[in-house]
Amino acid sequence: MTTNQQTKPEKTDAVPGAPLLEVDDLHVEFRTRDGVAKAINGVSYSVSAGETLAVLGESGSGKSVTAQTIMGILDMPPGVITGGEIRFHGRDMLKMDKDERRKIRGKKIAMIFQDALSALNPVYSVGFQLAEMYRVHEGMSRKDAKARAIELMDLVKIPAAKERVNDYPHQFSGGMRQRIMIAMAMALDPELIIADEPTTALDVTVQAQVMDLLAELQRERHMGLILITHDLGVVADVADKIAVMYAGRIVEHAPVDKLYSSPAHPYTEGLLASIPRLDLKGQDLYAIKGLPPNLMRIPSGCAFNPRCPYAQDICRADVPPLIEVAPARHSACHFAQQVLDKNGGS
């Protein structure tokens, strides 16, 4: 794992040399009336400044729960963090008290949500909601804060920002609303942005605009970006490295071009084969058989074994650890080397 640290000097008591954010062996479960759902079962990843990590997974794979835990907005109860650390500049956020976390949330780590229409408050104008960031966090006057809100709307390229600052969320199109969400995340100049499916609700033409904007801002400000998505296409364009999640675990972790050219985990391999290509008229689509697991009854051993074409007895007995199979490449599969060799990756 690379830890080339390039952040600007920090006034907080950061541990020097530590990556911007490290998630270390995180475990989260939901204790519900029907039983315990193990949403995250030992997730580890890290992001440095200026780096984009894509977290890829299907619904229920735990990608959003990880993000919520990092932000400290997990519903507890029913959610319970049963283990692990989340270090921001080397300091474990899970051990901080409420006030300390609040100082980080929004200011240092900001989040962009999927559905902008429900993430924005419909009864306040967007200008008011953007200005609120400055009034609450920086104690600015209403007037100054509003001026800053207009600047923000310019930053995310909303046309005629001055006229539109008093408009309400429903008066904006989907793409514009998502820009407002990005503006809000950008407001306090955070070091890390977590974007949870930022373009899933948008049309392709608008999706391209929004992703470009996000990538541009990230480059300019040298921020860390965690991009959570289920769309293999979106990820290919912007990410540096990818973590693929399945049933609350990272099953593969690799630099983006390597992952696409030579997947080292059967699940990644299946996912890549199951999407139709734009530039080819395919034959039959490869389909991963079966269904994603129920988190209350995760299969023993490797969680993917009931759907895996490589599965042997060992897969039903032992959980495969996430190990390095090639330089900078990790896979959690007993047959990782075999999969990698088959795809010509070593």
């Binding site: 514009m176 049309d203 033409t205 296409g233 696409y260 299946g270 999407i275 530039d279 039959d284």
Partner: protein, 342 residues
């Protein structure tokens, strides 16, 4: 796929305007949302026609008009030569035996209080002639097996199934009356990637088995290419380009099609440097007040004066060769390969 037979479905100059009214007691019409504004296409037996476009372009309204769930403002939908856009009552019911629909959201399109047997069996209650008395349950079990579900789960409720399984239930319901045409409105967009492929493969298998014709509406261009024989691209209530899957994807001539294709993120980082990207500025204009002339001109990089004055018709343009010869509604239609990296 060229069956020279008579088209099973012909859509001619289909129009749907939703009135915009003002006032409470004395309502007067102050305008109209031109959701569908003159759409023409044909569907032959065993064929899949893909309908693509951004949200708000009217593709779902077309689906509703084909099903006669909405009354067309003007135009015709001909099923085997007979105009079905104005029929009602008994005649409409008999038409619907042959045209069925699969909806987007498998969570809201299945009644949570009905068991699977009731949901898939309901068509037989409405059309008792479709299944001999007492055989409905048996038919439902056959259908469940056909779409890859366990026939023993006949008494379960929708919430006991996953998203992909629910969409299979929706497909089974669509198949219950042995229709000839199935209109699929975004049938896989709510599903996870690994499950999408299963449902698409199922739909292709069923098409081969029963000779079904599909109108496949989706915003995901890769999936549309995979399943379609012919593709129509819609923009603001009109078809801007129509042709075979190869013609549209490998030889697009309309700037909107080209922009749409170039915006699709390709899951291959190696190809991204070689791909030209056309990023459109702005949003889709309001269908209540569409631009004059060509509706795409406000976002088009080729726009000239003529585009504002004269509406380009959907026709085969001159000066094009090979696969580029297909109907395109642009004054400056020109072939451009977008999806292949150079």
């Amino acid at each position: 796929m060229t069956t020279a037979a008579e088209p099973i479905l012909q859509v001619q100059n289909l129009v749907k305007h939703f009135p915009l009214t003002q006032g409470i007691l004395f309502q007067k019409q102050i305008g109209a949302v031109k959701a569908v504004d003159g759409v023409n296409f044909e569907l032959t037996q065993g064929e899949t026609l893909g309908l693509v476009g951004e949200s708000g372009c009217g593709k779902s309204t077309v689906a509703k008009l084909l099903m006669n769930l909405e009354r067309a403002t003007a135009g015709q939908v001909r099923y085997k030569g007979e105009d079905i856009s104005k029929v009602s009552g008994k005649a409409l019911r008999s038409v619907r035996r042959n045209i069925q629909m699969v909806f987007q959201d498998p969570y809201t399109s299945l009644n949570p209080r009905m068991t699977v047997a009731d949901i898939i069996g309901e068509p037989y209650a409405i059309h008792p002639e479709a299944a001999p008395k007492g055989s409905a349950k048996h038919r439902v079990q056959e259908l469940l097996e056909l779409v890859g579900l366990n026939p023993e789960h006949i008494n379960r409720y929708p919430h006991q199934f996953s998203g992909g399984q629910r969409q299979r239930i929706g497909i089974a319901r669509g198949l219950a009356l042995n229709p000839e045409i199935i209109i699929c409105d975004e049938p896989v967009s709510a599903l996870d990637v690994s499950v999408q492929a299963q449902v698409i493969n199922l739909m292709e298998k069923l098409q081969g088995e029963f000779g079904l014709s599909y109108v496949f509406i989706a915003h995901d261009l890769s999936i549309v290419r995979h399943i379609s024989d012919r593709v129509a691209v819609m923009y603001l209530g009109k078809i801007v380009e129509i042709g075979t899957e190869t013609e549209i994807y490998d030889h697009p001539t309309h700037p909107y099609t080209q922009a749409l294709l170039s915006a699709v993120p390709v899951p291959d980082p190696a190809a991204r440097q070689h791909r030209e990207r056309i990023i459109l500025t702005g949003d889709v204009p309001s269908p209540a007040n569409p631009p004059s002339g060509c509706r795409f001109r406000t976002r088009c990089w080729k726009a000239q004066e003529i585009c504002a004055q004269e509406e380009p018709l959907l026709q085969i343009r001159t000066g094009l060769q090979g696969h580029a010869v297909h109907a395109s509604a642009c004054h400056f239609a020109e072939e451009k390969d977008i999806v292949h990296s150079h």
